[in-house]
Amino acid sequence: MTIELQRPVGDRIVIDDLERLSFRVDRRAYTDEDLAAQEMTRIFDRCWLYVGHESEVPGPGSYVARDVGGRPVVMARGSDGVVRVFANSCTHRGALICSQPSGQARSFRCPYHDWTFSNQGDLVGVPIPDGYGPGFRRADFGLAQHRSESYRGFVFATFDPEQPRTLPEYLAGATEYLDLIDDQSEVGMEVIQGAQLHGARANWKLMMENSVDIYHFRALHKRYVGYMESLGSVPPRRRGGFGCALGLGHGANELPPAAARPLAYWTPMFGAEVRPRIEATAARFVDRFGPERAERITGTNRAVLIFPNLMIIDAIAITIRKIDPVGAGQMAITSVALAPRDEDPDIRELRKSHYLTFLGPAGFATPDDIEIIESCQRGYLNRTVRYSDLSRGMNKEIPETTDELPAREFWRQWDRLMHDDDAHPDLARRAGMPGEEPR
């Protein structure tokens, strides 16, 4: 390591040097509590944040309560069928109006003084109302409703009433990847019940970087790769794949499947019995979408990072991973599986089984990811090494999946937001390196 590379460059956290093809991140970004607090106001209070999938509130009156960007919210489908996102805080004096993680409710009654809100947010009941003067109007005390929008079933909310972008504008190139996922069923995708709720003693951004990092796969995940090979996974039928920047901090990797896909790429590891069904599904998609797009939907793996804290990985199963910062050195991870609602029961079982083999706190891969990012976090305690390097692929027109372009795209948006530069949309379209341009 050269001394020169470790010399601080001003006070910038992200040092993006397109001339020297060097991209570095000051490790204070992972350890500094002041920066972590600033991230909450500059990033999480402003961006569109993933709340949940519409299938989690399937019918009128169904709801889920969870934290989004550090704030307790309720996503509820009203009796009118509309999905809304409310602040989970009573407009009287603040108690949570909903303390069940999910359920079915015509109304939410605050346990403190029994104010009651309809599932559309209206205040419909106030005990002993003669305690208020004529100026008191129930209409002023409905639940605070966050601005929310849904794209292809994925519900997002923003806490910034001034957020200038609509959700599709905000998602930029990532919409294409959400299309490729939602197109996997004609009747809609659904979240499978049973979330994997875990965490890591590491900065949240390390998990975002890890989730789009394919460079580590063969090194860190030897045991998983070995297991899949022992089951009869075969090398991809075509080579290649690429990493891309999708604009506004989003990025993706797209690559031929390394093992198999329940929808719809059969290899012997799935067993002979389901082969005709999986291949028939693949053929049906060719009829619906044409050979090229069908191959992209059913015969290609992808991992998409949606800034700031959502990852969707579509490989041997689909996982939606929401990553929440808890100060600088800890994160909470929520992972669920997404699948076609009309999936064949045997193939659903295969999907679940392979999901568990790879993913989650007890899979054959994710625990090693957790351990390694915790190890990075510990490594940062030695402040002598000031920067982490993320320059792989800056020398290429089209970076490969083992390069670090999606992570750079993430950091560039992080840098813009932390410096209030996002007002200049052309900064999001960086010239110079063709490979660094958002697709």
């Binding site: 019940q193 049973g194 709720l197 003693r201 909470a332 089984s353 568990l356 083999t357 706190p361 957790i370």
Partner: protein, 170 residues
């Protein structure tokens, strides 16, 4: 006053004692990382080991859990843990399993359904964690001993946020 055990009582106490000893031995083998012995001597060939998700109760059909191993995947888990490729279990965790509240729920002669409570303390990589759960075993009677056919550990934690991962066999 003397307490007389009926023949039936005595048989039940003996069975309970044998079941408890069996579960204590299992805990010891797991704590001592004698995983191959555990796998070969204490489980049936059609073992199923599962840990349901912490946000659902009562194992609803179709739900995804944290672990749902058949014999082959459990064997793989054992081999990986032992051959040092599990980066997060290398060096190996130190564990201490406390088994209590052992209760024979049903005795169907050749099969027993057994409940027990479990706390597993785990220390490693600078961390210490406790996993707290309720176990359900289906035991197949084999002469004077047993084999485990179904092994379910229902964690009482709301999340594994503190633990991060579950890389040991509970």
């Amino acid at each position: 006053m003397t307490i007389e055990l009926t023949v039936d009582d005595a048989a039940r106490v003996r069975l309970w004692h044998r079941v408890s000893q069996f579960l204590f031995r299992e805990a010891r083998l797991l704590d001592e990382w004698r995983l191959v012995e555990w796998y070969d001597e204490m489980l049936t060939g059609d073992i199923r080991y599962s840990v349901p998700a912490t946000d659902v109760r009562g194992e609803p059909a179709g739900a995804l859990g944290l672990i749902d191993d058949d014999a082959a995947r459990l064997r793989q888990r054992v081999e990986q843990l032992l051959n040092g490729e599990v980066w997060c279990e290398n060096p190996r965790s130190r564990t201490n399993r406390m088994i209590s509240n052992v209760e024979i729920l049903t005795d169907r002669g050749s099969h027993l359904d057994v409940a027990a409570n479990m706390v597993v303390y785990r220390f490693g990589h600078g961390r210490s964690d406790a996993y707290v759960g309720k176990c359900r075993f289906e035991l197949v009677v084999e002469g004077e001993s047993f084999r485990i056919r179904r092994r379910v550990v229902v964690l009482d934690h709301e999340t594994l946020y503190e633990h991060g991962k579950l890389s040991i066999i509970l």
